[in-house]
């Protein structure tokens, strides 16, 4: 069982417009438009639900993909989004006392 947890970074600004999720980094004003998978991941990234559970409950249902492969792809995606400061990832649940 993957112990990876993901949370939305509160230091970015995000808006969904006609199904497109756009995110701007507060750090350097870079604008990102998320694809469908990344949008699902972003919306489910509450810091408390393990990534494996997110994949099983949302991504596998949406894309009819094999769970093991979907989890590997989701981990890669989550780490990529974390590199850009969009998501936070941790091997422990991410509890946010101060969202700022």
């Amino acid at each position: 069982m993957s112990s990876l947890y993901v949370a939305r970074n509160p230091r970015v600004a995000a808006r969904s417009l006609d199904g497109e999720m756009m995110i701007m980094s507060g750090r350097d004003s870079t604008l990102f438009t998320l694809n469908k998978t990344a949008t699902i991941l972003w919306q489910a990234a509450d810091g408390a639900t393990p990534l494996e559970q997110i994949v099983q409950q949302t991504i596998c249902k949406e894309f009819e993909v094999e769970p093991g492969e979907a989890l590997r792809d989701a981990e890669t995606l989550a780490r990529d989004l974390a590199t850009h400061g969009i998501l936070q990832i941790s091997e422990e649940p991410i509890v946010r006392g101060d969202s700022k």
């Binding site: 417009l17 006609d18 701007m24």
Partner: protein, 271 residues
């Protein structure tokens, strides 16, 4: 023996852009004349000012206008700097100071930055776009360099009032958004008229073989707007405020793509 009088007369001018009067104080007569000439049409006789800057005119030393702009907020004070100026501004007391040489470009950059900071907290922004008023309505024409901002400004017929060919001033109001004329010029090198009007449309410019207006999806509209926003501050709170302001704008103002052949007929589409 009479004491030496070391007091120097303080001169000032109020530059009012976007309904926001900014008083600039200086002791340098030549610099004051530069300002009055540069901002002709935007000089106000308002006695009150929302912000007051004391300008220290320095002797020429380092004056790299191409250097990166640094805009940071710390301990209640904004610090603004570029190769050719340094400035500080304390919003709580509405005062600041600028150190620069006697030229109009440094203070121009400084004013643009200050206006973006003030507007960001009010849901407004400065936008890389030409803008003009026709039939009491303002139209914005956004695009990067060479997109056609100056061209469409130059082609405007006589019943069109040009607000700017380079940087539009957008304020949020109860009913929607208002565009104001600015002295911030592009290649046309002609100051905008100091008037305002409610914004009827934002056009994303591109040049083509024919004139046509096409709606753009909401996401593309937001990206088009964000790509042309002027924003300088390295400040997460203001970045987020400006981001959300852009989405609010595109939810309330029609955004279309205007492809145009560079002749005056394009203005037949804009009414």
């Amino acid at each position: 023996m009479a004491p030496l009088n070391t007091e120097v007369a303080q001169l000032s001018v109020v530059i009012e852009i976007g309904d926001m009067p900014v008083r600039v104080n200086t002791t340098d007569v030549a610099f004051l004349e530069i300002l009055e000439k540069r901002y002709a049409g935007f000089v106000s006789n308002s006695q009150s000012a929302e912000i007051e800057f004391d300008v220290e005119v320095a002797t020429p030393d380092v004056a790299d206008r191409d250097a990166d702009v640094q805009v940071r907020f710390h301990s209640g004070r904004w610090s603004l700097s570029r190769g050719d100026f340094r400035a500080e501004w304390e919003p709580a007391i509405r005062r600041g100071r600028i150190r620069q040489t006697a030229n109009p470009y440094s203070i121009d950059a400084c004013l643009r930055i200050v206006h973006t900071l003030v507007l960001a907290r009010k849901g407004g922004f400065l936008l890389h776009s030409a803008s003009a008023v026709r039939n009491g309505k303002a139209f914005l024409f956004a695009g990067v360099s060479e997109a056609g901002k100056t061209t469409i400004s130059r082609l405007a017929p006589s019943d069109v009032t040009l607000l700017t060919d380079e940087i539009s001033y957008v304020r949020k109001c109860d009913e929607g958004y208002v565009a104001f004329g600015t002295p911030f010029t592009g290649e046309l090198a002609k100051l905008g008229e100091n008037v305002s009007a409610p914004i009827a449309a934002l056009y994303l410019l591109s040049k083509g073989r024919e004139n046509r207006i096409e709606p753009v999806p909401a996401g593309e509209a937001a990206r088009g707007l964000l790509a042309n926003l002027l924003f300088f501050a390295q400040d997460e709170e203001l970045v987020q405020a400006t981001f959300h302001a852009a989405f609010e704008f595109v939810s309330r103002v029609p955004v279309s793509r205007l492809t145009f052949f560079p002749d005056a007929r394009v203005w037949e589409l804009i009414r």
